[in-house]
């Protein structure tokens, strides 16, 4: 209830500014105008097309990052040699913003999907690697010894003890990876995409001073981020680590 009041207050302030006539209407469109644009773009399917191509790029990059991160993370936790080889590389590459690579990837692979997916992949890989690695090392050694004493071998030890034990960290890593990927995809689309994608729409709208399209796309970007968290990660946690009693829900 209070949340609605505060949003209404912010909207009212914005509306007064927009209608006050201090700024050009093209730059600060009124909220009904933004809503109309959003509705029109939703109705004729253009927004869905843009959102789908953005989602495709994000999940392609994220899937690659998850595959690399899980394999490398578990290997690093498992073997000292692998850890010693990759950890310095990871700590040097991680602080480089993924978007700094965008121009290089564009040169190598051209404008379009490949460059964008690679930027997303770069952004999402590090949280996956680091969290899988930390998670696999954080598995309670007592569980390992207990499972070993009960006769668990390599494979069943890995799938039944180490993977579930590391899962809370891995899910957090996935979450962080998605947040980073979501930022990276919007930026990469502004620089590298051609004709489709939410980032491209926003950037393209700037050329024509279509602030209403920009605000409408911003709303869609925010909404998708929100729903992926609510409908993707929260249930994933509820059905795995929460149900197994490995972490407690903050509210419970």
């Amino acid at each position: 209830m209070k949340a609605i009041l505060s949003i209404l207050a912010a909207a009212a302030v914005y509306e007064v500014v927009a209608r006050g006539g201090w700024f050009a209407a093209a730059l600060v469109p009124t909220l009904p105008a933004v809503a109309r644009t959003l509705w029109a773009m939703l109705a004729d399917g253009t927004m869905a097309g843009h959102a789908l191509s953005t989602l495709y790029r994000v999940f392609a990059g994220l899937a690659l990052a998850a595959a690399l991160g899980l394999v490398l993370g578990f290997l690093m936790a498992r073997s000292r040699a692998v850890e010693r080889f990759f950890l310095p590389l990871v700590s040097v590459l991680m602080p480089i913003p993924s978007l700094a690579w965008a121009p290089v990837f564009i040169l190598w692979f051209g404008l379009g999907d490949t460059a964008t997916v690679l930027v997303v992949f770069y952004a999402a890989s590090f949280p996956m690697i680091l969290n899988t690695w930390t998670g696999a090392r954080a598995v309670n050694p007592l569980w390992l010894r207990a499972a070993g004493a009960m006769g668990a071998g390599g494979a069943s030890m890995f799938w039944k003890v180490i993977v579930p034990g590391a899962l809370p960290f891995i899910i957090t890593g996935l979450r962080l990876a998605f947040q980073r990927a979501w930022i990276a995809v919007v930026g990469a689309e502004m620089l590298a995409a051609s004709d489709f994608g939410l980032g491209w729409v926003i950037f393209d709208a700037k050329e024509f001073l279509n602030a209403d399209i920009m605000l409408a796309s911003l709303a869609v970007i925010g909404a998708i981020g929100f729903f992926v968290e609510r409908l993707g990660f929260a249930p994933l946690e509820r059905y795995t680590v929460l149900r197994w009693g490995m972490v407690r829900s903050a509210k419970a």
């Binding site: 505060s6 993924s98 620089l191 700037k206 602030a211």
Partner: protein, 252 residues
Amino acid sequence: MKRFSTIVPFVVVGALWELVAHSGAFPRRLFPPLEEVAATFVRLTAAGILPQHAAETLLRLAAGFAVAATAGVLLGIAMGRYRRAEDLLLPLVSIGAPIPGLAYAPLFLLWFGLGNTGSIILVGFVAMFPVIQNSWTGVKAVKEIWIRAAQTMGADERRLFRHVILPGALPYILAGMRLGLAQGWRILVAVEMLAAVPWGLGWLIFGAREFLNTDVMLAGIAVIGAIGLALERFVFQRLERYTVVRWGMMAA
């Protein structure tokens, strides 16, 4: 021995890079050997071009971050201390924070113009969210018993704030600033590519694309990575050591 084993991975990756670069599988302009990148780096540094780009970028980062830190700490503490401020601001912060900062970039450039003003305001805006969230959490996390103890010993509102709440919240505030600076840094590099500023590392990389100067791009990326690493290592770890670690509020 320890130092030696950290160098090995870089030597291996460097050797692989050289092998590919010299094999002629890719055009030399797109995949330059490392000695060429190093020569470019030295040439640009000696000519003063690279330092000037870096200085301009750092100046923007400092200006944007100063805005974010001041506004973020003030708003965060207000939200932690006063119910009204929390009710009003929390919903707005929770909606604004998950939207990727770069998505705002075209809008901000439209409103505040290309160049410095737009990029500094964007960096400040994006870096502000983690600072607000952490300052708010930090104030809320101050132990009730410390506050009551201080009040019993006769601390007035001002001294309570200065001697109990501020030191108690500082570990969180510093963590928020750290996150904010890292986010601001990522956004800044990207926004320099979009905002068409005449100087700046992001622009250096993006501009080099036009002329297929991959060596310039890679030298620029190296500088960006080094600055990111240095900000983390030398600024924040030191700041933490001199404040919260010394006061015994956090383990080193």
